[in-house]
């Protein structure tokens, strides 16, 4: 064990003036333990989507940080998120992945909870407890706050956390791109059946920073572009619109959310795609037209990989997915990936997109495979006593972000770097780690809600 391993977080590990981040924050076990308390117990986390639980009694077992939670719809139709652990002796009350139920009954001693979380069944309540157990007090632990944002379900354990939309700040429009229909109508997304879950031997922040908008690692995906899996059947792995748009890094300071983002020139439509599948090509063309009609100038915004702090990744365009990076140990992450389609899209379109999603993403995805190799061995090679002495470099494009960015009449909020000339920047990672350090340092939300006028000192 390295000497430093005995110490947890201290300021200076994230040093953005120098453009450096210490390897300790990825490999140190004490820091990992502190993250569970300071980040995962306080931040808003993605739990699932309402299309996974359409009917009363439906549930989907999810995860928040290290902990198992149940996303369920009670008999009255209300959505809840509960800790998946019996109040009596802690046994998981649900070990199925999904289903429909009237109660969650603990297999250990038989305590049973309604889908609204209330303790309803206690064996020998009269005889052994003399009817004196306060059942109201011993229901399933429920999250402090839950928010249904256009069908996506988010939750936090911290009652003092700001509401979810305030937590998002100006990042709202990027999550909208994920959840609204491609035709511009609100909240049209549905989740395809089958959530991919897999283990990667790396710290959770490797995928988090990658999806924050790592434009620099394109080179590691060269093999998939040579093999040609693009949405039109061959060629580069993603969409043609990247060639005609301004390519931006957009970071929402104060919030720790950031993304890559394309802005089409005024009056220009994206180049045609899916040319080998006329039904899909026609659907996309129709959607673009509708979107321009409904959204006007805003329809020029095209989504790309992004990250909502701390561990939710967006990819609103192609493949259209959301992922959550669940911490399992300092050295292991459980990745969960949800895939989306417009619920009103023709069946052929859904199937075509699905084929593309599978060959792109996840452990069998020809693109994502190479990412996981990098995260795995970057982590492994950073654990040693010597390796830990040398910080990573995050200096790319330091000091070049602008606010009030505008392109042909469209204003983009946040700190922006136009990558069209510079090719790449590490502004998104700086934004992510600055926020990470703030979470590690601030004792409560009064100091974390910096946009309300609180102090901002971490890492500066």
């Amino acid at each position: 064990m390295a000497m430093d391993d005995k110490r947890g977080y201290r300021s200076g590990l994230v040093d953005l003036r120098a453009g450096e981040v210490s390897r300790e924050i990825f490999v140190n076990e004490h820091i990992y333990a502190e993250e569970q308390e300071r980040i995962f117990a306080r931040a808003w986390l993605h739990v699932g989507h309402e299309s996974q639980i359409p009917k009363p009694g439906d549930y989907f077992v999810s995860s928040m940080g290290e902990e198992s939670v149940i996303l369920c719809r009670d008999r009255a139709g209300k959505i809840h998120v509960f800790l998946n652990s019996c109040r009596h002796r802690g046994m998981k009350v649900c070990r199925y992945d999904q289903g429909t139920t009237a109660v969650f009954t603990c297999p250990y001693h038989g305590w049973s909870y309604g889908t609204d979380g209330r303790l309803v069944g206690v064996p020998y309540f009269r005889e052994a407890y003399h009817s004196r157990l306060d059942k109201e007090k011993w229901g399933l632990v429920e999250v402090a706050q839950m928010h249904n944002y256009k069908g996506s379900i988010w939750a936090t354990w911290d009652p003092a956390a700001p509401g979810f939309t305030e937590y998002l700040g100006d990042f709202t429009r990027y999550l909208d791109l994920q959840l609204d229909g491609w035709d511009g109508r609100e909240g049209q997304a549905e989740v395809l059946g089958g959530i991919q879950k897999w283990l990667v031997p790396c710290n959770w922040k490797f995928p988090a920073e990658n999806f924050s908008g790592d434009t620099y690692h394109n080179i590691s995906h060269r093999s998939v572009d040579l093999a040609g899996i693009g949405p039109s059947g061959a060629g580069r792995r993603d969409m043609g619109e990247r060639d005609v748009s301004r390519k931006l890094h957009v970071c929402i300071p104060d919030r720790g959310h950031q993304t890559i983002h394309y802005v089409l020139p005024a009056g220009k439509s994206p180049p045609p795609a899916y040319l080998n599948a006329p039904i899909v090509a026609e659907y996309v063309r129709h959607c673009e037209e509708e979107r321009r009609r409904l959204r006007g100038e805003e329809a020029r915004l095209v989504g790309a990989p992004g990250e909502i702090f701390p561990n939710t990744a967006l990819l609103s365009r192609q493949p259209r997915t959301m992922a959550v990076w669940h911490p399992r140990s300092p050295h292991q992450t459980e990745c969960w990936r949800w895939f989306f389609v417009d619920r009103d899209a023709p069946t052929e379109v859904k199937h075509f997109l699905r084929d593309y999603y599978i060959r792109y993403s996840g452990p069998a995805g020809m693109t994502e495979q190479d990412d996981m190799e990098n995260w795995n061995y970057a982590h492994a090679a950073s654990r040693g006593t010597i390796a830990r002495r040398y910080p990573y470099n995050y200096d790319q494009g330091s000091g070049t972000a602008v606010t009030n960015y505008e392109y042909q009449g469209l204003r983009v909020p946040g700190e922006v770097i136009d990558l069209t000339e510079t090719q790449s920047s590490e502004q998104p990672m700086r934004n992510f780690y600055r926020r990470w350090a703030e979470f590690m340092e601030a004792d409560d939300w009064s100091r974390l809600a910096t946009w309300r006028g609180g102090e901002r000192k971490a890492a500066e």
């Binding site: 139920t101 009237a102 109660v103 009954t105 297999p107 038989g110 049973s112 309803v120």
Partner: protein, 65 residues
């Protein structure tokens, strides 16, 4: 007498409980531990008759007629 697996008992089935009461299954959550049942008779506490309660599996000693 062998134990009864309550997991798959259909609503409408009548059951005999350890204290001699008889009840009819209203809904079965299928967890193998609990049944929602309405009392048909209850020698120990006649006020329970007509009431719906959760019945714990080990209390079900026989199937009624």
């Amino acid at each position: 007498m062998s134990a009864i697996n309550v997991r798959d008992l259909a609503p409408g089935t009548s059951i005999v409980l350890a204290d001699g009461a008889e009840a009819e299954i209203v809904t079965n959550p299928g967890d193998g531990m609990w049944l929602f049942a309405r009392y048909l008779s209850s020698p120990r506490d006649p006020t329970l008759v007509g009431q719906e309660e959760m019945i714990f599996a080990p209390d079900v000693v026989a199937l009624g007629r």
